[in-house]
Amino acid sequence: MSRSATPLQKSLVDVDSEFCKGCSLCVVSCPQRNLKLSESFNRLGFHPAEFHYHGEKGDCTACGICYWVCPDFAIAEVRRVRR
């Protein structure tokens, strides 16, 4: 289970890394580039995606794209801080 979020960010994505097959769909689809494939392997032998709040192009907006494109339910939750 990947837990790479910094506390109290506006929005967060939980990657269930044991479900991840490292297909990189989330990585290439995230408009902010908040996701990267990890260097390490998961139990299935894949490099799972890791969430970073500060993406290459900006902060996670909880847009949900990664959630919708992930074929393996590995993007388990997209959360937003309560207003």
Binding site: M1, R3, A5, T6, P7, L8, Q9, S11, L12, D14, D16, E18, F19, K21, G22, C23, S24, L25, V28, S29, P31, L44, F46, A62, G64, I65, Y67, W68, V69, C70, P71, D72, F73, I75, A76, E77, V78, R79, R80, V81, R82
Partner: protein
């Protein structure tokens, strides 16, 4: 359960989360496959419409035969190609149920073409999602009726010769030509490379989500709904996952152009 470091769960609200319509089991699908994407879209729509407890999934034979492992509803297995007939059987005795299937292009457009056309023509209130990956995925990459000209498959090692095997069949077009169906749509499901940037567009999955929801709504209103998803099969196309997305969204999408082919009930208008 995931715990966000230092961020008490209470301070966050889940915008998109786990679905009780999913069993929570990891899939057998290959990495990056649209079968997986569609599974989430379907589960999401069932949940949104509150239909989980009166839904019956009909398993077709193809990679989607595993669907019941992931989608947490009642399920019945159809022989290869016969899902539309099995669905008709269910619906005819239990019109109160929501019945749907995910079929492959081999299942629906090859061996099961008659059952598909007949169920559509009878306007059975059922929903069929066609995953058109232009190949027989589950059995290791033989030619499908939707395989484009020249594509190498294990049974067309020199590339598909349409003079011998016929031109790719377009199920969406065939169905749109019948009176029966209420909703016929084709969506290019994979994420798509966007011109010069290295970003991929998620329009496919998002359009897919909407289409799945609409398809179910059509069934609820008594219509036959059908959505074809132009998809990939990187394993059997012998491409990397991202190469396969490019091929599907650039080449296949030309052969099988996306669009709303029929919407008798006007669900897309809202």
């Amino acid at each position: 359960m995931t715990v966000v470091q230092g961020a008490p769960a209470a301070e966050y609200e889940v915008k998109l989360g786990r679905l009780s319509t999913l069993t929570g089991r990891p899939t057998h699908y290959c990495a990056g496959c649209e079968h997986g994407i569609l599974t989430r879209l379907v589960a999401n729509a069932i949940e949104e419409l509150g239909l989980r407890e009166r839904t019956v999934l009909v398993d077709s034979v193809g990679c989607s035969v595993f669907a019941h492992d992931y989608i947490n509803t009642d399920a019945v297995q159809a022989p290869h190609g016969r899902a539309p007939a099995v669905m008709s059987g269910i619906k005819r005795v239990r019109p109160d149920l929501m019945v749907f299937a995910v079929q492959g292009d081999g299942d629906a457009v090859s061996i099961g073409l008659l059952e598909l056309l007949y169920a559509a023509n009878r306007a059975e209130p059922i929903t069929i999602f066609l995953v058109n990956n232009a190949i027989y995925g589950m059995t290791g990459g033989q030619m499908a009726p939707t395989t484009p000209e020249g594509m190498v498959t294990t049974t067309t090692p020199q590339g598909r010769d349409v003079a011998e095997t016929g031109r790719p069949l377009d199920a969406t077009k065939l169905l749109a030509g019948l009176d029966g169906p209420s909703y016929v749509k084709r969506v290019v499901l994979p994420i798509a490379p966007m011109g010069s940037t290295d970003l991929y567009s998620a329009r496919g999955p998002l359009e897919g989500a909407k289409s799945v929801l609409n398809a179910f709504k059509v069934q609820m209103r008594g219509g036959f709904s059908f959505v074809e998803f132009v998809s990939t099969c990187s394993i059997n196309w012998k491409m990397s996952v991202l190469e396969s997305k490019r091929f599907a969204t650039e080449t296949l999408a030309k052969l099988f152009p996306p669009g709303l082919y029929k919407d008798k009930l006007g669900v897309e208008k809202g």
